[in-house]
Structure formats: C-alpha cells, structure tokens
C-alpha cells in the first residue's frame, strides 16, 4: 500500500509568485478552489506528527481536507524558500533536519 501523504498548502501570494516566477518554477504551482495558486509540500505520517509537535498552532484537518494547516506564515515562508532552493516540493525531510 502506498504511504499516506499529507499536503501542506502554501498559498501563493504576489510576493511568493514573483519569487517562483523569477526562479523559473511557476510550474510547481497548482490551481485550486476556483483560481487560487498553491504549492503543496507533502509530509508522510511521521513527518506530520513531528510538524504538529514542533508547531503547536498547526492543525491536521482530519475531517475535511486531510491537510496540515495553520502553520505560522514564517514557517511556511521557510518551507517555500526551501522549495525554491531545491527546485522541488519534496523538501520536508530537509526542512525538519534544519529545524533540529
């Protein structure tokens, strides 16, 4: 069975869009909810638990979206910057390593 993955939605505001466009990474954006741009970084089960422990304001929306929400904006900025640096969305292992 494939490992369950839980998205962290990084909603792309103008500032973020400018950064990824300049880096030639606009293709990492998905479109959701009638026109919103989002970059989705995925966490596995263990990473999800670590994130929820590290950032107590974060919440796993188990009822509806199955996504990790309410991470502080600064934390999402760090994940976003890492995505730009690594040019890929699969960055959670590296992100958590840098937190420890």
């Amino acid at each position: 069975m494939a490992e369950e993955k839980y998205p962290i939605n990084i909603w792309v505001n103008e500032e973020r869009y400018e950064k990824i466009r300049s880096a030639g990474l606009a293709n990492l954006c998905e479109e959701m909810l009638a026109g919103l741009k989002v970059i989705r970084a995925y966490a596995n089960d263990a990473q999800k638990d670590k994130i929820l422990k590290l950032f107590p304001t974060a919440k796993f929306d188990s009822a509806t979206t199955k996504s990790i929400e309410l991470l502080p904006r600064k934390v999402k900025d760090k994940i976003f910057d890492l995505i730009v640096e690594k040019k890929k969305v699969d960055v959670m292992e590296e992100f958590l390593k840098r937190q420890s």
Binding site: N9, I10, W11, V12, N13, E15, E31, M32, L33, A34, G35, L36, T57, K59, D61, S62, A63, T64, T65, S67, E69, L70, L71, P72, R73, K76
Partner: protein, 418 residues
C-alpha cells in the same frame, strides 16, 4: 396566547421588574458568579432553557445522566448545574432553604432559591454526557473543573444584561424571536448552528437546508427563513473573534446572498461542551424554544477530535425524534468541483476524483498566507468585514489572541440595579 417550547411546556420569562427586584434582593447574601453561570442564568430566565426554571437538583441531573431525560420525562441531554466548593458554601453561609443573590461583574444578576445542596460522581457524569472520561476532551475538562458541590433550585433574573455593541441586535430571547417570526410570516424556520465566519460551504449548507425545509409550501410569498444562531461563549486562542463571527454571518443577508425575507442572525450565550450527539440534542432543545421548526445537523455535529462517529448525532436524534418538536435536516457537505466550476453538494456531483473540499481551517490558512480567497469560496464582503473586525475589535487580528482575551469589550454588562 401562550408560547409552547421544548417538552410541550409554556415558555415563561423569569424576570422581575426593577422596582420589585430592588425590594426582593434586600438583605440577601451575595454570591459572585463567573461567566459560564451568568450565561446560564440568562438562558434560564429568558426561556432558552425552558422548561428549566433553575439549576438542576440531584434527581434531575441524575436522570439526565442516566436516561437523557428530566425527572418529568422531558428529553434533556446536558446537566445544567451550579457548582460551588465546600469552603465557599461555608464562607458564604449558604444553606438549603436560603435565597441568595447571584452577582456578576459586582452587580446583582439573579436570585437563586437554594432547594438542595448536593454532590455527584463527576467521572460518571463525564462518561454519561461525553461518552468518555478523557481529560483531553474539552467538555470533560470543563466538567472535571467543577467544584465538588452543586446548588439546585429556581432562579429569577433581577437585572437585565445590557448587551454591548456590536451584539445588541442579535440578542433575541425566545418570546421576542417568536414575535419576529410571526411578523415575517415564516411558517417554517431552519436553524443553523455556528461558531464560524461563513465560507460558501456554510452558505450553501444554509441554502440547501432552506430548500429542504421549504418542500411543498406555496411559493407566492416567502414562508421559510434561516435562523443563524451563533454560539457566543468562552473563547480559545486561535478562534475567530466573536465580533467577526456575528457580523459576517449577518453580512450574508446585508450583501444580498440572502435577504430580510429569508435570513436572520442571532446569538445564544453558551460555553460549548463539544458533547457531539448529546450537544446536538441540546441544540435541538434550545432552538425549539426559539420557535424554530427545523434544525440543520451536519457530520460530527458539535463534536471534537475523534470521540464521535460522523453520524452518531443523527442516530441519537432519531432515537428521540418523537419527543422533539423540531425536524432535523441532515446536511451533506458542500465542496468545490472544478469540473462543474461551482460549489456543489457531495450528494449531487459525481466528479469525485476532482472534488476540492474546503473547511474553515483551510480558508483561515489562505487568509494567514496573505491571499484573498476567490468569491466562489469566500464572499468578498465577508473577507473585507473580517479584516475590518480585526482592526476594530481584534487588536489587529481576526483571531483570538492573548490581548483580545484581556482587553476585549464584554458581550454584555450587568449594570448597577437602581
């Protein structure tokens, strides 16, 4: 004409006129109370909790725990009890048979005729009401924090609360609410329970329930309304601030997504217990007293975490349906389907693989990231008002912060009794 509320009992306000109140409270021992008890005193006095006339004695609390009924057989799901510690009882010199003056914010609020002082096995109460004794459950935690004795007996309000802006238009007690429904000509009213700023998923839940309630009624004039009844009570950090909740709910009417002919916003003071199925029954009782004919119940109504199954509340409601004077409207989730290009019901759309579900939490994460959600998901008037509330009431944030908890304007004030 008398107004009949939950359990087939007449709704009677238990409120004294000021002159009589001044006389009645003379010489009474004063007992200060906290916000939960003040809310519940108001609910009893105005009839939200009809047929309760006061705080429960042991027999009623026991019957509620063991059989979800009062001793007279009326369905009741959550004990309404007044706690006090042994030491306080001794310090205030309270005895059975006494009448005491309950004060809030240092002013007289109500008199309590103490019929019984009783103790209870709180662990058992938790198990019966919440189905768990887990202290992580917020209702269990609240209940376990009760002091070890309870005072039972009727209460009478001696001083009406002064509702502070911007809440005044939304404080509509049961007897007044029923008058308003008659003035509007509504023959059916469907209640929407909320503690949220509305996104379009909520809006469509209401619209769907309105259609369900309308059913086969004639359409030549408006006969059905939605009553938004926001629960205003204890706040937790990170919740939307109360001002944003109540004003944005009403904004849906003001901005034309509904109208005066089919939508009204109101509030009930209540500290949520998150008791899931039992709280669903409780909501049905409250809204029956408000004169509502239908009540929306979604998945995991009033639940928290994973303590209750998605449809446990519906099953419990069905088990006592004949004893409730309200028709449950079971609501399916609404979601965005990019294929349809619209918000649609999961019961209608079959583009399942394309569905994009959204929740209040998800919308909040969008707002937190500095992005304005599209109007199909979150109405621009609601978004703008949330931001306005943040500045006007929330000390810069639409969400509850330590500063908000410390400095917010109280929802109501108890003025001096003159």
């Amino acid at each position: 004409m008398s107004e009949i509320g939950h359990g087939g009992k007449e709704i009677v306000e238990r409120i004294l006129q000021p002159k009589e109140a001044v006389q009645k409270i003379k010489g009474l021992k004063s007992v200060p109370i906290g916000s939960q008890m003040a809310n519940e005193v108001i609910n009893i006095a105005y009839g939200w909790f009809s047929p309760l006339k006061g705080f429960m004695n042991k027999a009623d609390a026991d019957a509620v725990c063991n059989s979800m009924r009062l001793t007279d057989g009326t369905v009741w799901s959550i004990p309404i009890i007044f706690d006090m510690g042994d030491q306080e009882i001794a310090d205030y010199g309270v005895k059975e048979g006494d009448t005491v003056l309950l004060t809030y914010q240092d002013n007289p609020l109500a008199i309590l005729e103490v019929e019984e002082i009783w103790g209870y096995d709180i662990a058992n109460m938790c198990k019966c009401v919440y189905g768990t004794g887990d202290p992580k459950h917020p209702g269990v935690s609240r209940t376990c924090n009760y002091k070890n004795k309870f005072l039972g007996g009727p209460i009478t309000l001696v001083n009406r609360p002064r509702i502070n802006p911007p809440y005044e238009p939304y404080f509509i007690p049961p007897l007044e609410m029923r008058k308003r429904f008659k003035e509007k000509g509504w023959v059916k009213v469907v209640a929407h329970q909320t503690r949220n700023v509305p996104h379009t998923g909520h809006e469509w839940l209401m619209k769907g329930a309105w259609l369900q309630a309308y059913a086969d009624l004639p359409i030549d004039k408006p006969l059905v309304g939605v009553l938004v009844n926001a629960i205003i009570g204890e706040k937790r950090k990170g919740d939307y601030i109360d001002e944003a909740i109540i004003l944005t709910q009403d904004e849906l009417r003001k901005s034309g997504y509904f109208g005066d002919h089919n939508h009204m916003t109101s509030l009930t003071f209540w500290d949520m217990r998150y008791a899931g199925p039992k709280e669903a029954i409780f909501h049905a009782m409250l809204r029956t007293n408000l004169g509502v004919s239908h009540h929306m119940f979604g998945r995991d109504h009033a639940g928290v975490g994973t303590y209750y199954g998605a449809y446990d509340a519906h099953e419990l409601l069905e088990s006592v349906r004949d004893d409730l004077s309200i028709t449950p409207v079971y609501s399916m989730n609404w979601l965005y389907c990019p294929h349809c290009g619209e918000v649609t019901s999961e019961g209608l759309c079959n583009h399942r693989k394309e569905w994009q579900k959204f929740s209040g939490t998800l919308i909040r994460s969008i707002v937190d990231d500095g992005v304005k959600p599209p109007r199909l998901i979150f109405r621009p008037e609601v978004f703008d008002l949330v931001m306005e509330c943040a500045e006007k009431y929330g000390f810069g944030s639409p969400f509850v912060t330590d500063e908000y908890l410390k400095r917010r304007t109280p929802v109501f004030t108890i003025p001096p009794l003159s």
